[in-house]
Every structure is written in C-alpha cells, then in structure tokens.
C-alpha cells in the first residue's frame, strides 16, 4: 500500500522537521569548530528563504538555541550559510559600510548535473537517476583527491544538494582564510572543461608547444577517470551511439583521415555501440606509425576526450567569492522533499539519490517510534534514518575540533 507522501512545501511539515529533526547543534559545532560560540558562529550570515519566497539576508545568532528558535519562528523552506564577517551580520545596518567585510568562509564547491546536460543521455534538466549519478561520482573522486593531495586540506564535507548535484565544504583553517583571489586561483586551477555551447573542444589545458603534455595534476585526474569513462560514457550512457553523439566525438579528433574512415564505417553500421566505436578509434591509432606527430596528436585528443566527458564540471562562481551563499546541509529540497545529507566520498559510487530520506518519510518514522516521555526534542533524529548522516557530520566535526584544540594548546605554550 502506498503511503501518502507528506508535502514538503506545506508549512506544517517543515515546522515539524525543524522542531524535531533538524540537527542544529551538530551544524553549530561544525561551523563553530569549538564547543563555546566563537566569531565563526556569531558573526556568520544565515540567509532564509521564506515560504512566500521572500529572501531574508544577514541573520546571525549567538547560540544554537537561538538559531533553532528563529528558524522555527520564520519556518523557511530552506536556508543558506554565508561567510564570517568582521562584525555580526544582524548589526549590519548600524555599522559603517566599509567596516563590514567578509573575512572567513569554508572553501566551497558546487557540481550540478545541468552542466552535464550536453553529454548525459538518460535524463535532462532537473531529473536525476542512479545512472547520471555516475558523473557526480567521478567528479567527487577527482576533486576529493585533488584537494586532499594537492592542496593538503583534510576536512572535506560532501553534501548531496537535494536534487541533482553535490556540494563540498572545506573547513581547514587555511581554507577558511583564503582571499577571493586565492579562491579564484583554486577554482580556475580545477576548471578544465571550458567554452560555451558553440565550442566543440572544451578541454585546452596542455602546456608546451612541441608534444604538449597535460599538467601533472590533470594527468593524475586522467588516471582516475579512465575507468569511469569506460563504464559510464561508453557502456552505461552509450554517448556515441546516436548520430549526434558520435558526430560530436569526431569533431574532437584533429585528423581528417581518421575521422573520414570512422565516419564511413559508423554510417554503415547504425546503432554500433560506443564501446565498439571507441575501440575502432583505438585500432586506427594502433595502426598509425609510432612516434609520428599525427599519432601523438590523436592520442592526446583521446585523452582530452576522456577529460571532456568525465572531468568535474564546477560551478566556479560559487567557489570564487567568500560571500557566496550556499544551502546548509540537512535542509530539505523544496521540490523533491529530500534532505541534503552528507555523502561519504569513499562509497560515493553506491550512493543513490532516490534512496535519500525525504522529510515525509522521516516524520513517519518518528511517528512510528514510541516516543519516550521527557526525551529532548532536538535529538529526535536519533530515532530515524537520519541518524547515520548526523553521526557522519559529528565524526567529521570531532576531527576538526580536535585539530583546533591541538592548535590552541600549541599557541598557549608560546609564552
């Protein structure tokens, strides 16, 4: 029997969610890095989107209880987290404009499925299925390893955006303090697929004029992407099956003899699988004379194709500015009703957006659980399938807090 789904857009449902389920304390600790409120929390902007679509900026709170109380009063559809300012955002109007500046902020990234619309074949627009998640999974793997390995950051929190994307929040001290210029550098460093609708070849990152090579960081990414390219692009999505798909592919090969041969072959064999087509291309390259510039060029183009189809497509604007707002973890997506839960990058391949708990499901679970008299309301999430996700955030925060504690102790010894 199908249970009637509770409407996530109804104010009653959202109010129950904030009052009984939303883990305000965990979010507070994650933002604050310590147990007692610091500037990281008190000077932090929270922006609410109300039921009437009114956008309320520059809210700030001194404690998580106050944060919860205000959220329940306003009962927004969702809220976003902004930067830490030089002063309390709620006092903004009383402060001289120049003296109110963003100073700290998690380094954030946003990957959205819409940027993959030109290549995915299963869905488009707002839709997402387990199959398109493959693109996100590949992106997470590349980005996670790049940021940990190349930039040396440790506290990365991946959060499902509730519909068709994923966010990353980096909370390391150094990352929090990056300037806009440095954020722009990191965003551009990690942006590989570029160029608008009317540019076929969107990957142009090679360096050197003779035998151009990929920069070391992208070479490392390429190695992570070879497998997803086979599984996802060739097999699952079958991107080069249809005429449009393989015509796009041929446009990326800088050798007319090769493309002419392939075109004849593929025209006569409609519905030839992408895997077979990619193999045709590889066979042609094998037949070319070794160590000729032509062969090197086609091989380089093949690597670029793998990158163009699988390398993370970032929404770079989100990363570039400290004062960009981003939806808070554990908010409910107003259209899907799904909760924006943390995602473990180790098992991101197994993640299925369709299995993410919805607000309706959680409230039913709560009703089913026998409520013990006198139990605290704001830990009610423990009785639902939200628990493992809140635990995940708490574990993440515990590591972060430990680091801060060690740093503080070292500072105390400076006398």
């Amino acid at each position: 029997m199908a249970v009637e789904e509770l409407d996530p857009s109804s104010p009653e449902v959202m109010l129950a969610f904030y009052r009984r389920l939303y883990p305000f304390k965990s979010i507070f600790k994650w933002l604050n890095h310590e147990h007692t409120p610091t500037r990281l929390f008190t000077n932090r902007e929270i922006a609410y989107t109300l039921q009437s679509d009114v956008y309320l900026r520059y809210n700030s709170f001194t404690t998580f209880e106050e944060f919860k109380k205000q959220t329940c009063t306003l009962n927004p559809t969702r809220f976003e987290i902004g930067p830490v300012y030089t002063a309390r955002p709620r006092d903004k109007k009383t402060i001289r404009p120049g003296a109110f500046q963003p100073i700290q902020r998690e380094l954030v990234f946003d990957i959205d499925m819409t940027d993959y619309d030109s290549i995915r074949t299963c869905c488009s627009g707002a839709d997402i299925c387990k199959r398109c998640w493959g693109f996100i999974a590949a992106a997470v793997r590349v980005l996670d390893s790049a940021i940990r390995d190349q930039f040396g950051y440790k506290y990365l929190l991946w959060v499902y955006s509730g519909r068709r994307g994923i966010h990353l929040w980096v909370s390391d001290r150094e990352a929090m303090e990056l300037t806009d210029e440095q954020r722009r550098a990191i965003a551009n460093y990690l942006t590989v697929v570029q160029g608008g609708k009317d540019m076929h070849k969107k990957v142009n990152v090679r360096i050197g004029t003779k035998d151009p090579v990929l920069p070391a960081s992208i070479q490392a990414a390429l190695e992570l992407l070879i497998e997803p390219f086979g599984d996802l692009i060739l097999e699952d999505q079958d991107c080069f099956k249809k005429d449009e798909g393989w015509e796009d592919l041929l446009k990326l090969i800088p050798n007319e003899q090769v493309t002419a041969k392939l075109r004849t072959k593929w025209n006569s064999d409609e519905g030839r699988s992408s895997e077979a087509k990619w193999k045709d291309l590889r066979d042609l390259v094998k037949d070319m004379l070794k160590k000729t510039p032509e062969r090197a060029a086609v091989k380089a183009a093949m690597e670029d194709i793998i990158l163009q189809y699988t390398y993370p497509r970032l929404d770079a604007e989100v990363t570039k500015h400290r004062n960009h707002l981003l939806k808070a973890p554990f908010c409910v997506h107003p259209k899907t009703g799904r909760v924006c839960i943390p995602v473990d990058p180790e098992i991101v391949d197994e993640f299925d957006p369709k299995l993410v708990p919805t607000v309706g499901q959680l409230l039913r679970e709560l009703d089913a659980a026998i409520s013990e008299p006198g139990s605290e309301e704001h830990t009610d999430w423990e009785k639902t399938s939200l628990k493992p996700y809140v635990d995940m955030l708490d574990r993440h925060t515990a590591g972060l807090m430990n680091e801060v504690r060690i740093g503080k102790r070292a500072a105390d010894m400076s006398w």
């Binding site: 190349q150 550098a185 990191i186 608008g196 009317d198 050197g208 003779k210 070391a216 497509r313």
Partner: protein
C-alpha cells in the same frame, strides 16, 4: 684591479642611504620635505601610474606596457643603476617620497587602493625586469637583502617528483610574459632549482597550473620565483595601505595637505578613460527598434545573444547581464528595457517573469540593491571574465566559438552586409593568433565598406574595437552620416556642380 673595483662598489653601497634601485617601501621617509617637493614628486609619479593604467585599459601586451613605462620613467622619474656616477640617493629619495605621498592620496577608498596597488605592482615588475637585464647582480643583492622564506627543494625530493615537476616547467602559452621575464627556456634538468612555498603565496602560478602542487606546497621553478617577489610586494602594499587608511583621519589636521591629496586622487580618476560612456542626448531607443538595430549595427557577441534570445525566448544570467548592460548604454530606458525583456521571455508567465527576472533587470539599471550604475562590459571584460560554461551563450564569439561555428555564425549574421566566404580565412587566422578584437574590427570594416570604411581604418583613425558599444555607436554614426549626405544631395541646396 677587479677586486679593488668591487671593493669600491661595496664601499659605495655602504655609504648610500638607498643601496638598491628597487625598493619594497617598507619604511616611510622621515626627513623634512618642502610642500613643493611633496607635490612635484607625487605628480610625476602619478603620470607614470596613469600611463600604466591606460595600458591596462587598452589591453596592451606586457612588453608594450614595459617599453611605455620605461620611457615615462626616464622622463619623470629617472633612476640610474648603481654603477652610475650621478647622485643616486637623490634620485632614489624622489622615488621613495613619491610613493609614500601617493599612498596617502590613494588609501582612502577600496577602489583607489585596488587601482593603486595594481599600478604600483606593475611599475615594480617593470623595474625588476629591467634590473634583471642591466644589473642582475644588483637585483640579486636586493633579493638577498630581504627574507622571502622560500625553502630550496633538495635533490632527493626533486628526484621523487621528477616527472610532475618536468611537466610544470615546460614551455607555456603565456609567451608574452616569458619573453619579458625569462631567459630562453632551458629544458628540464636536475640542475633546475625549485623553491617550495605555500601555494597561497603564488595564486597566479597555481591558477595557470604552472607549478606542481603537493600537500598545499607549490614547487616553484627558479624562473618563476619573481612571481613570489611580486606577490610579496603586492601583499605588503595592500596591508600598508589599509593601515595608512586607518591612520589618515589624524592627518586631516594639516590643512595644507588635504586639498593637495584630494586633488591627486581625483587626477587618477579623471585622467584615464576606462569605460565607454557616450550616449548622446536624444539618442534614446525603443524596444521595437532593437531587432533592426541588431541586424544593422551590433557586433557579433551581441548579435549572437540577440539571436539566441529570439530563438530560445530565454538567456542565462551572464548572457542577460552582458546584453542588458549593452542595451542600456545604447540608450534603452528602463521602461523600454522591461518591455523588451518581457516580450522576449515570451514563454514565461507574468508572475514568473516578475519573480525571477524583473529584479535583475532593475538591478542592472541601478534601481535595486546597492544602486550602482553599472557600465556595460568592455571587450576586455567579456574576453577575460565570467568565462561561458557549457550551456552559456555569452562571451565573445571570436574567442569562445570553435572555428567552424564562428564561420557559420559570421556568415549568417553578416552576409547581408557584405561579408563573403572569401573574407573568412583572414578573420579566422587573426582569431587563431589570439587577436580577437582585431578580427572583430576587420568584420566591422568589411560590413561598413559601403559606408566608405577602408581596411585598416577601424572605428576611425585606425583605432580598433575595444568595446561593443563603441562598435554599435560608430556603426550608427556612419549610417546617420550617410543619411544626411543623401539628404543634402537630394535637396536643392547642392551648390557644387
């Protein structure tokens, strides 16, 4: 013989108050200064900085900027190398003093600070580079006089990351920069020295992927170490300016200096044309006219946005921004703009339009938010900022289209105005060389040949396109002139026979 000369030089360094031609301006000048000297030093330096700014505004390549700045420096702020017999301390004192006076003048707003830092850093780069060419030993001595906190990478580590380091130290697309700053590139060898610094100190190198990154450390090859120096210079100056800004109110007591400083900072603002502002009165256009104007007068970037808007009844954010501001400066009033966008977004209900787009349009007219009157985007901004993503239409077609799409687009846009496929190869080859504005200028010349525009003439006097509004307004001027001329010929006032 040789040693005695070296010794003499060392002695001279000792007695000089300013031992180096390059200066990080760490300490302010503490001597007495006359008010004339105060002003003259500052004005002369300002001339140089204004010239640097205008080089940036005109999108000149760095080597041109270098030669222009050097000429200006010889004229207004001569600084001889340490081997010269002139009074080095006097010259260097002027440099020192001028810099600090301008700090006072330019610390007062965010905008002024940003521009001052940019121009001063460029000046420092020009001098640093010159010093490297004419007096490399002096430059080394200058560098040694400061602690830059870079760690040399030892050979063991170098061997460990050999292949990664090699790929980051290969040739680069940024050749302009290299011609100026680096000796001929040497191929990778173990002899190449690397310095290890936190990546945050070299964001420019990271952005272009010119350094190898590991665990937050950037491995900077020796030829790029200048980047660390410039970054340091810039950061120091930014910090110092903020401190000066906080201290400035206490200076207001001196009634002689304040007007002078005000005057200086205004000179910096007015002296440099950086944006296009030329809507003449009575030039207002109506929403209904946009279609025709687009066909006759718009550069490719705006034509492309217009055509996409017609086709999809929608444009994404940066597309709306680029096109909307262009139309605003062209003379579309807010009421007409609202009408135009409402009609163009025909697939949306009034409610959706009002909710999602109205604010945005009003904002760009300075009617919402911080109420800034935003200028239209220049070619430089369109080319370098907010690069189009995979589903965007904005940007510069010459730069952001692939060659075959560009060709098709140009022919479909401009063949009615006289562009033929015979013109395409020339345009594509300029595009390939990266001279997008030259390509755009050439298209302008071709499509306006019937108005008497000749090759090489550009938008008048050989000037090339640097702003989409410049393209459109010149095109409209030419049309107006032609109409006037036709009137004169038809009328009975024709005297010449």
């Amino acid at each position: 013989m040789n040693t005695s000369r070296q010794l003499a030089e060392v002695e001279r360094h000792d007695i000089l108050k300013y031992p180096h031609r390059l200066n990080f301006y760490d300490k302010p000048p503490l001597d007495d200064v006359t008010i004339e000297e105060f002003e003259v030093c500052a004005l002369n330096r300002l001339r140089i900085l204004a010239e640097i700014e205008s080089c940036y505004a005109r999108n000149r390549p760095f080597d041109e900027l270098c030669s222009i700045t050097r000429k200006q420096c010889e004229k207004y702020l001569p600084m001889d190398a340490s081997t010269s017999k002139t009074d080095l301390d006097a010259q260097r004192r002027v440099d020192h003093l001028g810099h600090f006076v301008l700090r006072l003048a330019f610390c007062r707003s965010e905008e002024l600070r940003r521009r001052f830092v940019k121009a001063e850093t460029a000046l420092f780069r020009v001098r640093y580079d010159l010093e490297g060419q004419v007096a490399p030993l002096d430059r080394r001595a200058f560098l040694n006089s400061r602690a830059f906190a870079w760690v040399q990478v030892d050979s063991q580590e170098k061997a460990m990351y050999a292949s990664q380091l090699q790929s980051s130290s290969l040739g680069t697309k940024d050749e302009e920069y290299y011609k100026v700053f680096c000796p001929p590139l040497t191929t990778f060898s173990v002899a190449q020295q690397y310095a290890q610094v936190k990546w945050t100190r070299v964001p420019d190198l990271v952005e272009k992927r010119r350094v190898f990154l590991k665990g937050g450390w950037a491995y900077v090859p020796s030829r790029d170490q200048s980047s660390i120096v410039f970054q340091e210079f810039q950061m120091n100056l930014e910090k110092a300016l903020e401190i000066t800004a906080k201290a400035l109110p206490r200076l207001d007591e001196d009634t002689r200096l304040v007007p002078l400083l005000n005057n200086l900072s205004q000179g910096f603002l007015a002296g440099v044309p950086s944006e296009w502002n030329a809507t003449t009165a009575g030039d207002e256009i109506k929403a209904d006219m946009v279609d025709e104007l687009a066909r006759k007068h718009f550069p490719a970037c705006m034509r492309n946005l217009h055509d996409n808007l017609k086709r999809d009844h929608h444009l994404k954010h940066f597309g709306r921004l680029q096109y909307g501001l262009f139309l605003k400066v062209l003379g579309l009033s807010i009421e007409e703009a609202m009408l135009f966008w409402r009609r163009s977004f025909s697939g949306y209900t009034d409610d959706q339009f009002n909710k999602n787009y109205k604010y945005n349009i009003r904002h760009s007219y300075g009617l919402e938010g911080k109420r800034a009157n935003y200028p239209a985007k220049s070619c430089q901004q369109i080319l370098t900022m907010d690069q189009p993503g995979s589903t965007d239409n904005h940007g510069c077609p010459y730069r952001h289209f692939s060659p075959d799409n560009l060709q098709t687009a140009l022919l479909s846009m401009y063949s009615a105005q006289g562009l033929t496929s015979a013109d395409i190869p020339e345009i594509l080859s300029t595009v390939k060389a990266g001279h997008y504005h030259v390509a755009c200028t050439r298209v302008f010349e071709i499509t306006h040949a019937n108005r008497g525009v000749k090759k090489g003439e550009g938008v008048g006097g050989g000037e090339s396109i640097t702003h989409p509004n410049q393209y459109a307004s010149r095109s409209r001027e030419l049309e107006k002139a032609a109409v006037e001329a036709a009137k004169v010929e038809d009328g009975d006032v024709v005297m010449a026979g």
